[in-house]
């Protein structure tokens, strides 16, 4: 590659090679917390599509299903129709405000613990340790020339990456179709081309982003760290090195030789060794830090071994940094979480959630929309009366057949019929049968006398005859010719 290096300039690189990150294994509170989150998150992701939920004969029995082909979204006993998409919008708004809340309270906790990029990178780094060994072995292997051992280990590692990546991509499509059926279809080559394309793309992105790009995704690609920087303030918790306690650095031996000359940091570099982003937290807050707190675990275990107090690296707010530097005591961690800003975010978040729950409980499962024909606006009939035509859509959002009566209200003498009826037998109401979980489109003809205002508003009501649930109504207009026409 010497020629290429010449081309892109090694001396003054226009382009910088990635600096390898080989995080060391560590144990501690935050590491265990990360394990727990990884276990829960991955279990939810991989297992959810396989949960069954009985909805009767007219609906799929998958608990969580985004049925794009039929435009339905199922989540346990909730079924969302396309016109109820505002529930999804509400969830997205809640997710957004939830991120504001989390960021203002505990900084980049999303980045450190829950972001898929972090979770899968963490998983892939465990694969690295499983195949190559811990940090030092990994560095040795990276520097080693390509021999049988390196070829075998690279092949093994990348194969495991690929299996995980494929499984990840494969799990994604299960949310969009019946999982058991799709699995069979997928392996027998009968699934839709988009399923294979999706699995292919997601396998590739997981393989590349989780296996090779890793922290570069966070630093160069992701907009979220930059946005978060603007959302954090001096009261947000961030991972901080207590440099006023740690500096100047000196080994335990030096400190014993010259008591009082050195700080608590013994410059053991463990905080750097365990960092999955490859940064040195002692340089202060920086964009590369995802606040995963593994350096806290590493430093605490070292401090314990040498008998110094824990917390040389700790979750601190910038306010407390200033307080401690001035000789004061930091607030208790829990206390920093409760302040007007976080409480307001939490309040908004709860209000949206409660409002959505309320409307979800109140929503009707029989919906009516009526559209007046605009061409022609009205039809004059041979006996002098006026007919208007309407397109009526009755949505039956229950998984059973329902008899619905459409009633014309507020138009004196009007009669209505549909394409299967006739004017001779028409009354002010029409009965239609709506199949389960469908929208029935009905052409409704309404005739009224020519006497009346050129435009009269009236109402068409849909009343469900089966069951005692509420119906729906829509206000529409009846048009007559203007005088002289």
């Amino acid at each position: 590659m010497a020629n290429l290096d010449d081309l892109i300039g090694v001396d003054n690189p226009l382009y910088e090679k990635r600096k390898g990150v080989y995080p060391k294994a560590v144990d501690g509170f935050f590491r265990r917390f990360k394990w727990a989150i990884m276990a829960v998150a991955l279990t939810i992701y991989y297992a959810t599509p396989w949960i069954r939920w009985d909805r009767g004969p007219h609906a799929p029995d998958q608990a969580v299903l985004v049925d794009l082909a039929n435009r339905r979204f199922y989540m346990f006993n909730i079924e969302i129709w396309p016109h109820e998409f505002y529930y999804v919008v509400g969830l997205l708004v809640m997710a957004g405000i939830g991120l504001f809340l989390v960021t203002s309270a505990v900084g980049r906790a999303w980045c450190g613990y829950a972001c898929p990029q972090t979770v899968w990178t963490d998983l892939f780094q465990h694969v690295d340790r499983f195949v190559d060994g811990d940090r030092n072995a990994q560095i040795r292997l990276e520097k080693a020339s390509w021999g049988p051992e390196k070829i075998f280990k690279r092949f093994a590692k990348w194969s495991i990456y690929l299996v995980i990546a494929f499984w990840t991509g494969g799990a994604w499509i299960m949310y969009f179709a019946d999982a058991p059926t799709l699995t069979v279809d997928f392996w027998t080559g009968q699934a839709a081309p988009v399923a294979y394309a999706t699995v292919g793309v997601l396998t590739a992105t997981t393989f590349i982003f989780g296996g090779f790009m890793r922290e570069q995704v966070c630093v160069y690609m992701c907009p979220w760290p930059r946005i978060q920087t603007a959302m954090m303030d001096e009261k947000s918790l961030i991972v901080t090195y207590r440099e006023w306690r740690g500096e100047p650095r000196g080994s335990v031996k030096k400190a014993e030789a010259q008591p009082g000359a050195f700080g608590d940091c013994i410059d053991c570099n463990q905080c750097v060794a365990v960092c999955p982003a490859g940064i040195d937290i002692r340089e202060g807050p920086q964009i590369g830090c995802i606040t995963c707190a593994l350096c806290i675990d590493a430093c605490d275990s070292v401090m314990e071994q040498i008998g110094r107090p824990r917390g040389l690296i700790d979750y601190l707010t910038l306010d407390d940094v200033a307080t401690e530097k001035a000789g004061g005591t930091a607030h208790p961690t829990l206390k920093t979480l409760f302040r007007p800003r976080t409480l307001i975010y939490f309040g908004i978040w709860c209000m949206i959630g409660l409002a959505m729950l309320f409307t979800l409980g109140q929503r009707t499962r029989l919906d009516l929309t009526v559209q007046h024909d605009r061409n022609p606006l009205y039809v004059q009939l041979s006996d002098g009366s006026i007919r208007n035509n309407y397109t009526v859509k009755v949505r039956n959002m229950e998984t059973r057949q329902r008899e619905v009566e459409l009633v014309v209200k507020g138009l004196p003498g009007a009669v209505a019929w549909t394409s299967t009826g006739s004017r001779e037998t028409a009354t002010d109401r029409v009965r239609v049968s709506v199949a389960p979980d469908t929208v029935q489109k009905i052409r409704l003809f309404v005739v009224a006398s020519t006497e009346g205002a050129p435009r009269s508003d009236f109402e068409i009501q849909a009343v469900a005859l089966t069951g005692n649930e509420r119906g729906d109504s829509d206000s529409v207009r009846f048009e007559r010719p203007e005088a002289g026409q």
Binding site: I8, G9, D11, N12, P13, L14, Y15, E16, K17, R18, M213, Q216, Y220, D373, N375, P376, V379, Q380, L381, S382, D383, G384, R387, N389, S419, T420, S422, R423, R443, F445
Partner: protein, 309 residues
């Protein structure tokens, strides 16, 4: 190319160790931070992609056309394939429509609804020129939404009218009727009396005895004594509130004097049987369609009675 970093003119930003570019805005200076190398690889990949794309797809404009590309893709070809796919999708409906007798179409609601949808599309292509986009018609062109039919409003009658047209000179089975022109047969005064009587039938004028008498001798054979018309002859109902040409005095005088000979093209030489059935279903669905087919009139008999060959 990049300047040598040993260039002593380069100032170095101490905290990062990176050289300044030399641009400065209000004290904010730009650092010459190197791009990550993966970005370079991505850039090369896009170039390779673009090269492959140029080879595979039409790309370079030449004098008369562009290079064809190895895949042979064309937008016309894509359209043709999509149209063919649509035809294949429509085939079951079209075949079923071609097979079913038109009088049974209304009873088969599923097929009828499909036909109505197809007819709505075909109507926009073939019929709107005269009948208007809402099938409202205009003077001389019937409104297809209402319940007033010259030749019958059940689906079979509509289908017959569509198939054979009205007053097609070269077609034996076409709907045929000819009202005589009374200019010269009746005097202007007599015509005026008849017009008055016709207007009185729909309550637009007072009854007059002379007009009634003239109507009985000259018009009733087709329009009936009560003026309610006769569909077998395509003779319009003069007693209802609707009229094809208008019921004002001038228009009626012109109609009686010179007659009206509106023509509708036949469609059996232009459209396939399934499309004509679709159009019949669509027109029938507009609101005025009659449910029970009136016993199909013997056309020849009707013509004979009307004095037609």
């Amino acid at each position: 190319m990049a300047k040598n970093p040993t260039d002593h003119n380069k100032r170095i930003d101490q905290p990062t160790g990176t050289a300044f570019v030399g641009h400065e805005w209000d004290g904010i200076e730009e650092l010459d931070t190197p791009m990550p190398r993966w970005w370079l690889w991505t850039f090369y990949l896009t170039i390779i992609w673009a090269l492959a794309y140029v080879i595979m797809y039409p790309a370079w404009p030449l004098v008369n056309s562009a290079t064809k590309g190895m895949l042979g893709w064309t937008s016309r070809g894509e359209l043709a394939a999509e149209m063919q796919a649509a035809d294949v999708k429509r085939a079951p409906l079209v075949n079923a429509l071609a097979a079913i007798p038109v009088e049974q179409l209304v009873a088969n609601q599923k097929l009828y609804q499909g036909a109505v949808a197809g007819g709505a599309a075909a109507f926009k292509v073939h019929c709107v020129q005269c009948h208007g986009s809402g099938a409202m018609g205009s003077k001389g062109y019937p409104n297809l939404n209402d319940d007033d039919w010259l030749w019958g409003g059940d689906i079979s009658a509509i289908h017959y009218t569509l198939t054979h047209g009205i007053r097609n000179p070269d077609h034996a089975e076409t709907r045929q009727s000819a009202m005589p022109a009374f200019d010269g047969i009746l005097t202007p005064a007599e015509i005026s009396a008849v017009v008055g009587h016709v207007q009185s039938l729909s309550g637009k004028a007072k009854a007059n005895a002379k007009g009634a008498e003239l109507f009985a001798t000259n018009c009733a054979s087709c329009h009936g004594n009560d003026g309610k018309g006769l569909r077998e002859f395509g003779a319009p109902n003069l007693a209802d509130g609707l009229s094809l040409y208008g019921t004002d005095k001038a228009t009626l005088t012109q109609t009686v004097k010179y007659s009206r000979q509106g023509v509708m093209p036949r469609w059996n030489d232009k459209l396939d049987a399934a499309t004509i059935k679709m159009l019949a279903a669509y027109v029938h669905s507009l609101g005025g369609g009659e449910a029970a087919p009136v016993a199909a009139p013997a056309i020849a008999e009707a013509k004979a009675a009307n004095g037609q060959p």
